[in-house]
């Protein structure tokens, strides 16, 4: 059974009298353990796809089966529960809470798990997630005391903390320099390899998409191409020379 199964998904936005067809019938299966990169220029519909995959939005038509369950028509709160249990998000802008420790940031999804976990249990699980991304020794740092790469790894720990079957990463390296980008991509690759977590990555950069095991190109609300890919290893010595000023 695929983790994700999209069946003829369409999404129509109404902007005044204009009708925008963001997705025009997308069908797609993603199996457990895949690292899928979705690439496309802005306006291609990849963000809309990401919102629907992430249960942040509902399709206008079609069906979305997540772990076999149709989530296309669930209520707002039911979708919140699905997001909490099954999906981890990694955003371009990290979206960490300011003036809040790394540990407390990682704890956030656990606050909304039902039944409610005791505070000690929340703490222990957040700590374990932080250690998984190699930031156990930064637990009490605030985001402004961490580098960009560290912040994004805290965000990955937050995405991991509820043991989701799917991590959705929306331009996770968009705010990072090349070296840090590679660090983050390696972290994501390791999650797939060691824990079998399915990863869907949205990006407009071809060299970032190349870290995936499968690359799906999207244009004008339709899938343009869908190819298996030999993932590019995230090795530091492969870093292309970059100007000194850009090095973190």
């Amino acid at each position: 059974m695929p983790v994700i199964s999209l069946e003829a998904i369409t999404k129509v936005y109404k902007l005044g009298d204009n009708q925008v067809d963001a997705l025009r019938g997308v069908s797609l299966d993603i199996d457990a353990g895949e690292f899928v990169s979705i690439v496309g220029p802005s306006g291609s519909g990849k963000s809309t796809m990401m919102h629907i995959l992430g249960c942040l939005d509902r399709p206008t038509d079609g069906h979305y089966l997540l772990n076999g369950k149709d989530v296309s028509a669930l209520s707002r709160d039911a979708l919140a529960e699905i997001r909490n249990r099954q999906i981890g998000f990694v955003f371009q802008g990290f979206n960490l809470l300011p003036r809040t420790t790394a540990l407390e940031n990682v704890e956030v999804p656990l606050l909304y798990s039902r039944p409610i976990l005791p505070a000690a249990e929340r703490r222990a699980r957040a700590m374990a997630a932080l250690e998984m991304v190699g930031l156990g020794n930064r637990a009490d740092h605030h985001p402004n005391q961490l580098s960009g790469g560290q912040q994004q790894r805290v965000a990955i720990a937050r995405a991991l903390v509820n043991q989701p079957s799917l991590i959705l990463a929306d331009e996770p390296t968009g705010n990072l320099d090349t070296k840090t980008s590679i660090d983050v991509m390696r972290t994501l690759q390791e999650l797939r390899e060691k824990q079998g977590i399915t990863i869907v990555l949205i990006t407009h950069e071809a060299d970032i998409a190349a870290y995936g095991t499968r690359i799906i190109a999207v244009r004008d609300g339709l899938i343009l191409s869908d190819k298996a890919n030999a993932p590019r290893p995230a090795l530091e010595d492969e870093v292309a020379p970059v100007p000194m000023a850009a090095v973190n």
């Binding site: 919102h51 992430g54 942040l56 939005d57 707002r76 709160d77 919140a80 529960e81 997001r83 909490n84 249990r85 998000f89 955003f91 802008g93 979206n95 809470l97 003036r99 809040t100 956030v108 999804p109 606050l111 909304y112 798990s113 409610i116 505070a119 937050r158 509820n162």
Partner: protein
Amino acid sequence: MFALMPVNIRLAVRSLNRNRMRSLLTMLGIIIGVAAVLTMVALGTGARGSVEGEVRSAGTNLIFVRAGNYTRGGESVGIAAGLGAAHTLTYADAQAIAAQVPGITAVSPGLSRRTSVVSGASRAFAPVDGIAAAYAKAYTWNIRPGHMLADGSSEAVIGRTLADNLFGKGFDPTGKPITVRDAAYTIVGVTDDTSDEHNEMLFVPWRKLQAGEGIDYLDYIVIAAEKAGEASRIADDVKTLLRQRHGLASAANGQGYISQQGGGAGRPDDFTVETQAAKALTQGLYTPAAAFALANLPKLDEVTLSEMADTLDRASDTMTALLASIAGVSLIVGGIGIMNIMLVSVTERTREIGLRVATGARSLDVALQFLIEAITLSVVGGVVGLMLGFVTARLIGWALDWPVTVSAQSMALAIGIAAAVGLVFGSYPARRASLLDPIDALRTE
């Protein structure tokens, strides 16, 4: 939903702490409002408490019958007799009152004198009253050391202050002889009454005082009502009874005199009935002024302590209304301030809300977070207001000489009102936050 309360409260405190100045300014309305509420309640209950205290300290509600009456000088057709100078009250009157007026617990005849009292080498000039044993019951006296004098005996009870003057401070004078106008008595007890008046007096059995002077009248009769609220009714009954007994009840004598007391036709009273309230009112007034007051305020003797309480209540009602409007206005303004700042906060933290919703927060979770933040803001304001109100109440109490009581209930009320303001004015921003679209919220910069 409540299991996250500690987390939410911690979040709220942190968020308010982050903008300390802003939080303080926002709380100002609540602070003033709560201070006004507390002051209002403190002054209101204080006034009520002091009246109740007076009623309680009076022990029983006493009624005084005095011989004679105030009259309006030349207009009076009856004999113009000054208070206490008439010889119209008798022991038979006291007995009749005790036998015929219901609701009475004690009746004591009384004679008032000021004279020298001598015990051994000590001598003093003091008020001496002839009374019955029931007097102690009427005034709920504490007699220590010793016991109350017995009717028809030669025993005397001495006031604490007078005893101190005669024998030295703290001396136990029981058993000491004391002479009043050549009559010998033995001190059997010391009254430790709360009133200074009694502490400076000597009390002897009324019969022996009467016998010593060869008279058969009384100066006054003290009556104690069983229930404080019945003093007026008893005063009326006593008046009717005494008018009958003194032959004043006839309405057919055609003199056209309108009694200033009771308003009925007939000859004027040759006695005066006062409740404790009327006595308190005229105390310290010069006789003509008291006469004027009593003559121009018909049925003044029916003024009871509860009516005095009503008067004080009316005064405190005025102050309550004033403070209530201050409280109302500042609580509304404070509430709007909280609503405003919470709306700002929701806008500022749109991304945070988006993140929380994306990671699984339900609408209620978000609403609750902001609602608790609003309530925390208003309750902290409430606590500050409580302290301010405490000081204000004391200051007003001190400046206006007004009794002030700050009770636990009034503090709870003030905090409750503050929390309610936070709840009411925080719910709109909380609802706004809970309805944010997570996609838009995450996109916000």
